[in-house]
C-alpha cells in the first residue's frame, strides 16, 4: 500500500498491462498449494519444502485454557505463546508474527544491550540482506556449515538473476567484504560495529521464538590489530550477555567454551551461554566467536601495522536473538502461564478494581487511577484494567496467565480503609497476598518497588536451585548415560576425541553444551577414555 512511497511512478500499478511477470512455470507452482498443512514443531519429515499455511486454519488456540506445564511442556509452551498473545504463526510455515506483548519483551532486551554495546565502543550500522553466493563460498567451513539452511533468491524483477543471492543467515561474509575496503592501517582499528536485523535460516524443525525461518537478532562484528585484543573482545561480549541474563532476565546461564564440533562454522573459538529450560533441556542463549584470521584471510582484510607491514586483522562476532524471549518463557513459566521477571516485564503491575454496585464504582475507579498515577510517576510500568466486561476473577486469571509480576486489588472496603491488596505472581494463592498496604503514594511506591526487586531475585534463586539440582557430576560414560536418561545435565571431565563426542550424541541424544568457565580444581580423568583431562564439560539434550 505504502507502496507508492517508493515507486518512481505509480502508473505501473495502475496500468499493469505492460509489466513483466515472473516465469509462468513459477507462477503455476505458486498457485498450486494452498492447503493447510503443518504448523510449528510438526514439520513433516522428508519434505524439504515448507508449505504455505492457510491463515484461516490456525493451530494457535488463543481462547482455550493453557495446558498445564507439568502435563505437556511443549503444548504448554505453544499455548502460553498463543494465550498471552506473544506471537502468532506466519503465513509461511516456520515463520512467526511477533505481537506487541512479545515485541515489548524484545524491545526491553534491545534497550539494555544497545546501551551496553555503545558503552563498550560499538556503533550501529545496517548491512544489506542480500549476499552474493560467491561470498559465502569464500570461507570453506562457513559454507559447509550454512549451505543446507540457505534461502536463495534466484528470480528478481521478473528475471533470472545472474548470480544467485543468499538471504543473510549471518553477516560475517558481507561484513568482511566491506571491512576489507574500510581498513587500511592500524589507525582504522579496532573497528567495532553492530547491527539489529532479520536473518533467515531454512530450518526444518521450527518452534516459535526458539527456531524460526526468519528471526530478529543483533550481530556484532569487530576487527582488531592483535589476537589478544580479539580474544578480549569475544570474552567481554559473552560477559555482557551473561550479566544481562542473570540481572535482567533472572536466567542463571552457564558461560563457557564450545567443543570443536559445536564451534561456529568459521570460528576458532565459540563462547556460549547455556540456559536450562523448565523441561531441563539446554538452550544456547547467546554466542560470541573469536574468528581469528579465518575470514580476514578469505577476504584479504589487511592492515598496515605501525612498522608498515601488512597483516590480516583478528576478528570477533557475537549475537543474541529473539530466541531469548523463548528462553524467558521456558525458564520461569508455570502451569498458570507466563511469569515475567520484573526488569523485562512490559507491564510490572496490573491494578484490578473491584466493585459490585454502581455507587461503588466511582470511588473504586478514582482510587485505582490515583494509584496508577502514583506508580507511573515513580517509573513503574503499570496497567489499570478498568473494563466492565469481565469479572475481577476473570481478570486475575488473565493477568496471571500473562505473567504480570504484581497485582494490586482495590475494592470498596479498601477505599474506605485507604489501603490496597497486593498479590505476587510468583507465589500462588494466599501466601503471595498481602492485605492493607497503605494507598498513600510514597508508602505504596516504596512497597511495590521492594516487592518487584524481591520477585526479581526470588525468580533467579529459584532458577539457580532448579539448575543446580539438575546437574549431575559424572565420572564414567555409564553415569553420563544415567544422568541424561533421567533428563538431567551431566558434568564430567572430558578429553576424548570428536568421534567419541559424536558417539555420545548418537547414543544418548546429548551434546557438549560447553566447557564451563567455572572449573573444579584437582586432577581429572576423562570419563570416556580414562586419560588425563584438563576440563570438565557439560552434556545435555538441547533445543
Amino acid at each position: 500500500m505504502v507502496a507508492s512511497l517508493r515507486l518512481p511512478s505509480l502508473t505501473s500499478i495502475l496500468f499493469p498491462a505492460t509489466t513483466r511477470r515472473y516465469p509462468a512455470s513459477l507462477r503455476r507452482t505458486v498457485c498450486l498449494r494452498n492447503r493447510p498443512l503443518s504448523g510449528f514443531a510438526t514439520a513433516p519429515s522428508g519434505t524439504a519444502s515448507p508449505e504455505t499455511k492457510s491463515p484461516e486454519v490456525d493451530r494457535l488456540r488463543s481462547d482455550r485454557a493453557v495446558t498445564p506445564r507439568s502435563q505437556d511442556f511443549n503444548a504448554w509452551y505453544l499455548d502460553v505463546i498463543a494465550s498471552a498473545e506473544l506471537a502468532d504463526y506466519g503465513p509461511v510455515r516456520g515463520t512467526m508474527v511477533i505481537r506487541p506483548y512479545g515485541y515489548a519483551i524484545w524491545e526491553a532486551i534491545q534497550d539494555y544491550l544497545n546501551v551496553k554495546f555503545k558503552e563498550t565502543g560499538h556503533s550501529n550500522m545496517y548491512f544489506p540482506q542480500f549476499i552474493p553466493y560467491s561470498f559465502i563460498e569464500k570461507e570453506a567451513s562457513h559454507v559447509e556449515g550454512f549451505s543446507p539452511e540457505l534461502a536463495l533468491v534466484t528470480v528478481g524483477g521478473g528475471k533470472e538473476l545472474e548470480e544467485k543471492l543468499v538471504v543473510r543467515p549471518t553477516s560475517e561474509t558481507i561484513v568482511n567484504h566491506m571491512f576489507t575496503q574500510w581498513i587500511h592501517s592500524y589507525r582504522d582499528l579496532p573497528l567495532m560495529i553492530n547491527q539489529w536485523a532479520n536473518v533467515t535460516r531454512w530450518e526444518m524443525r521450527t518452534k516459535p521464538f526458539i527456531r524460526t525461518l526468519e528471526f530478529l537478532w543483533q550481530e556484532g562484528h569487530t576487527a582488531h590489530a592483535s589476537p589478544e585484543e580479539a580474544e578480549k573482545e569475544a570474552k567481554q561480549m559473552i560477559e555482557i550477555y551473561t550479566r544481562f541474563a542473570f540481572e535482567q532476565t533472572a536466567i542463571p546461564v552457564i558461560p563457557g567454551r564450545k567443543s570443536k564440533l559445536e564451534t561456529f562454522a568459521g570460528a576458532d573459538i565459540t563462547y556460549t551461554i547455556e540456559a536450562m529450560m523448565g523441561d531441563r533441556k539446554a538452550l544456547q542463549a547467546g554466542t560470541s566467536h573469536n574468528l581469528g584470521q579465518n575470514f580476514s584471510r578469505a577476504f584479504g582484510t589487511q592492515f598496515a601495522d605501525e612498522n608498515g607491514e601488512r597483516q590480516h586483522v583478528w576478528q570477533t562476532s557475537w549475537a543474541v536473538s529473539t530466541r531469548f524471549v523463548g528462553g524467558i518463557i521456558m525458564t520461569h513459566g508455570d502451569d498458570t502461564g507466563l511469569m515475567l521477571p520484573p526488569k523485562i516485564a512490559p507491564i510490572q503491575v496490573v491494578i484490578v478494581p473491584i466493585w459490585k454496585k454502581d455507587n461503588e464504582k466511582t470511588g473504586v475507579l478514582s482510587a485505582a487511577s490515583s494509584v496508577k498515577e502514583a506508580l507511573q510517576t515513580a517509573g513503574v510500568r503499570v496497567k489499570l484494567d478498568d473494563t466492565d466486561q469481565r469479572t475481577p476473577g476473570w481478570k486475575f486469571n488473565f493477568w496471571e496467565m500473562k505473567g504480570i509480576p504484581l497485582r494490586i486489588e482495590i475494592g470498596p472496603r479498601d477505599v474506605s480503609s485507604n489501603s490496597v491488596v497486593v498479590s505476587r505472581r510468583d507465589i500462588p494463592g494466599k501466601a503471595g497476598k498481602v492485605f492493607g498496604i497503605s494507598m498513600e503514594a510514597s508508602t505504596l511506591v516504596a512497597y511495590v518497588k521492594e516487592k518487584l526487586d524481591e520477585i526479581q531475585s526470588s525468580l533467579l534463586e529459584k532458577a539457580v536451585s532448579f539448575r543446580d539440582s539438575n546437574i549431575v557430576d559424572v565420572n564414567s560414560y555409564d553415569e553420563l548415560k544415567d544422568a541424561i536418561s533421567s533428563g538431567k545435565w551431566a558434568r564430567g571431565p572430558w578429553s576424548a576425541s570428536d568421534a567419541d563426542e559424536q558417539r555420545v550424541k548418537e547414543e544418548t541424544g546429548a551434546t557438549i553444551r560447553c566447557f564451563p568457565f567455572e572449573q573444579t580444581q584437582g586432577t581429572k580423568t576423562c570419563l570416556m577414555t580414562g586419560n588425563p583431562a584438563e576440563e570438565v564439560a557439560i552434556f545435555a539434550k538441547s533445543y
Binding site: M1, V2, S4, L5, R6, P8, L10, T11, I13, L14, P16, T19, Y22, L26, T29, V30, C31, R33, S49, E51, T52, P55, E56, P91, T95, M96, V97, Y103, A104, W106, N124, M125, Y126, P128, Q129, F130, I131, P132, S147, P148, E149, A151, L152, V153, T154, V155, G156, G157, G158, V167, I174, H177, M178, Q181, R187, I193, N198, T200, W202, E214
Partner: protein, 546 residues
C-alpha cells in the same frame, strides 16, 4: 571499481597527510613568528584546506548545481552516510551516521504514534505466492519488482516465497483472524522493517534502493470517519518529521486518481521539492483504503447490534528515503549539512596546534574539557583527536560530514579564555568566551535549525509558479519550476499532459500532478483548466518527480 577508487583515495590521503602536516607546522610557526596571531593561524589552515582538497580529493569533486547526480552520490559516500555495495547493484550499506539519523526519526515517530495507541509488531518477511496473488491489482503492480526465494539449501522449493515488497498481504489475513467484534476495533499495528523491491531503474542511495528500511502502519476502524481522521493525523506526524527534525518544507496534499494507491480510496502525501533539479519528491504517504481490502481479505466485525460489517482500513509509510531528501535539500558544494536536531554530532571540536610547543597537551586537554562541558549540557559533541591529520584537513572533513558547528581552539584562544565557533550553514565565525559558550552553542543550534528550514522554504517558494495557460506551463516547466495550476481533475487530461511533456529538454519522464494541496488558493468561478480548457475544479501542483 568503487573499491579501486577507495584504495586510491586511501593511499593518496595517506601520503598527503604526512606532507601536509609538515607544511602546516611550518606555516603555523611562521604565523606565530611574524606575530600575526591566532586569526592568521586559522586562516592559514583555511587556505591549506583548499589546496588539500584539490590534491587529495577529500571533498566533493563536482559542484552541486553542475552535476547534481554525481554530487549527490559523492556526498552520500564521502560524507560517510552510505557505502556502495558493488556486489549487488542498487543496494547500499547504511553507516553509523545514517543509522543515527534514522534512530532519531524513529524516536520521534514512536513517541507520537504511541500517543495514538498504535502498537509495534513484527511480521515475517516471507510472503507465500498465493497470498501475494490474492489482490489482483496488488500483484500486477508488484510482480515486476518481486524477489523470489526459490531454493533452500540444495532443494528447489515446491512453492517459492516472495520477499515482502510491502506487507498488506501478510498482515490482513491476521486482521481477518484477530478482528471479531466491535470491541476489537480499532486495531492499529505498525512495524519497522526492511522491504525488497527489485527495481531496475536508476538506483540512488536512500531515494531508490532494492532493499530499504521503513515503517509501515496498518489500521482498521469501525467507521469511515475515524479512518479519515487518522489518515490526516498520520500525515501530520510525517510532516512534523520533515519540517521539525529534517528542516525540509513539505506540502500536504491529496494524490490524483492516476497517482493514488491502486485499490485504495484515496491517498494523501507530503511532497518535497528539489530546486536544483526542479523535481518533486514524494516524501511519505498515508492512504485511506476504504473497504476494498476488507472485502478481499474478509476483515469483518460484528457491530453493537450484532450485524456484520466490513472494517475501514488505512495504511501509511515513511522510509529511509527521508534521509535522502534531507541530504538533497541542505547539502552544498562542501558536502553534507545536517540540521542540528538530527545531526549525529552537533559540534566537532578541533585543536589548532603548534607543533613542538610545550602546550600541545594543554590544548588537547582544553578540547576534551570543552567537549565534556558540551556533553554535560546535552549537546552531541566530539573531539577530532586524530593526530595524523592537520587542522585544515579536519575542518574540511567536518564540513564534508555536515556537523552544524565547529569549535576551534588554538593557543591564542586559550590565552583569552575563548573559543572560535564556526557555523556550517553560513560559514560565519565568532569568538566566544568559554563562560558563555554553552548558551551561545545552544542558541546557534536553534538558529541553524530555523535557518536551514527558512532557506529551504524560501528556495521552494522562489521556484513555485502559478500558471493558468498551457504556454505558461511549458515555460515554467522548462525553468524547473514547481507549478501550481488550475485543473479539471480528469484522468485523461493528466495522462495527456504527461505524454506531451515527455522528452523535453529537462529530461526524465513527463510532468504529472504532485498533489492537490490541502490548502487551496481561491479559485475564481470562471477559471479554466490550463491543459484542457474545461472549467477548473482545483489548484494542483505539477512537475517532474523522482
Amino acid at each position: 571499481m568503487v573499491k579501486s577508487v577507495e584504495d586510491d583515495l586511501g593511499t593518496r590521503l595517506g601520503s598527503q597527510m604526512i606532507s601536509d602536516e609538515n607544511s602546516s607546522v611550518v606555516k603555523t610557526n611562521q604565523a606565530l613568528l611574524t606575530g600575526e596571531g591566532e586569526a592568521s593561524v586559522n586562516s592559514s589552515c583555511e587556505r591549506k584546506k583548499k589546496e588539500m582538497k584539490k590534491e587529495t580529493r577529500l571533498g566533493i569533486s563536482v559542484k552541486r548545481d553542475e552535476d547534481y547526480g554525481n554530487w549527490y552520490s559523492e556526498v552520500c559516500r564521502f560524507g560517510d552516510l552510505v557505502e556502495y555495495y558493488e556486489s549487488v547493484k542498487g543496494i547500499y550499506i547504511l553507516k553509523p551516521s545514517a543509522m543515527k539519523i534514522w534512530k532519531t526519526i524513529q524516536r520521534l515517530f514512536d513517541a507520537e504514534i504511541e500517543k495514538m495507541n498504535v502498537e509495534e509488531y513484527y511480521f515475517p518477511i516471507f510472503v507465500p505466492g498465493s497470498a501475494l496473488e490474492k489482490e489482483k491489482n496488488h500483484i500486477e503492480g508488484f510482480a515486476p519488482e518481486v524477489a523470489w526465494v526459490t531454493r533452500a539449501g540444495d532443494t528447489e522449493l515446491a512453492t517459492p516465497f516472495a520477499l515482502r515488497p510491502t506487507s498488506e498481504t501478510v498482515i490482513y489475513p491476521f486482521f481477518s483472524k484477530w478482528i471479531r467484534g466491535h470491541r476489537d476495533l480499532p486495531l492499529k499495528v505498525y512495524q519497522w522493517c526492511n522491504v525488497v523491491r527489485w527495481e531496475s531503474s536508476d538506483p540512488t542511495p536512500f531515494i531508490r534502493s532494492r532493499e530499504f528500511l521503513w515503517q509501515e502502519g496498518h489500521t482498521a476502524f469501525a467507521t469511515k470517519e475515524e479512518a479519515d481522521r487518522e489518515v490526516l493525523d498520520v500525515l501530520n506526524i510525517y510532516s512534523r518529521v520533515y519540517e521539525e527534525l529534517l528542516a525540509v518544507p513539505v506540502i500536504k496534499g491529496i494524490k490524483s486518481e492516476n497517482e493514488k494507491f491502486a485499490g485504495g480510496l484515496y491517498t494523501t502525501s507530503i511532497e518535497a521539492f528539489i530546486p536544483s533539479t526542479g523535481r518533486g519528491i514524494q516524501a511519505a504517504t498515508s492512504h485511506s483504503l476504504g473497504q476494498n481490502f476488507a472485502k478481499m481479505f474478509d476483515v469483518t466485525f460484528e457491530d453493537k447490534k450484532g450485524k456484520r460489517s466490513m472494517v475501514w482500513q488505512n495504511s501509511w509509510g515513511l522510509s529511509t528515503r527521508s534521509i535522502g531528501v534531507m541530504v538533497m535539500t541542505h547539502g552544498d558544494d562542501e558536502g553534507l549539512v545536517f540540521p542540528p536536531r538530527v545531526a549525529p554530532f552537533q559540534v566537532v571540536v578541533i585543536q589548532v596546534p603548534i607543533k613542538g610547543a610545550a602546550d600541545d597537551q594543554v590544548l588537547c586537554n582544553a578540547c576534551e574539557a570543552v567537549k565534556s562541558t558540551l556533553q554535560e549540557a546535552g549537546i552531541r559533541a566530539k573531539v577530532d583527536i586524530r593526530d595524523n591529520y592537520s587542522c585544515g584537513w579536519k575542518y574540511a572533513d567536518q564540513e564534508l560530514k555536515g556537523s552544524p558547528l565547529r569549535i576551534e581552539i588554538g593557543p591564542r584562544d586559550l590565552a583569552n579564555d575563548q573559543v572560535r565557533i564556526v557555523r556550517r550553514d553560513t560559514g560565519a565565525k565568532m569568538d566566544v568566551k568559554r563562560g558563555g559558550m554553552i548558551e551561545q552553542v545552544k542558541d546557534l543550534l536553534e538558529k541553524i535549525q530555523r535557518n536551514l528550514y527558512d532557506v529551504a522554504k524560501r528556495k521552494v517558494e522562489e521556484c513555485t509558479q502559478k500558471v493558468e495557460t498551457w504556454d505558461e506551463f511549458v515555460k515554467a516547466l522548462s525553468q524547473k519550476k514547481l507549478i501550481l495550476a488550475p485543473w479539471c481533475d480528469e484522468v485523461e487530461v493528466e495522462k495527456d499532459v504527461k505524454k506531451r511533456t515527455r522528452g523535453d529538454e529537462t529530461g526524465g519522464g513527463g510532468a504529472k500532478t504532485l498533489c492537490t494541496p490541502l490548502e487551496q488558493p481561491e479559485l475564481r468561478k470562471d477559471t479554466l483548466c490550463f491543459a484542457s480548457g474545461k472549467p477548473a475544479k482545483k489548484w494542483s501542483y505539477w512537475g517532474k518527480s523522482y
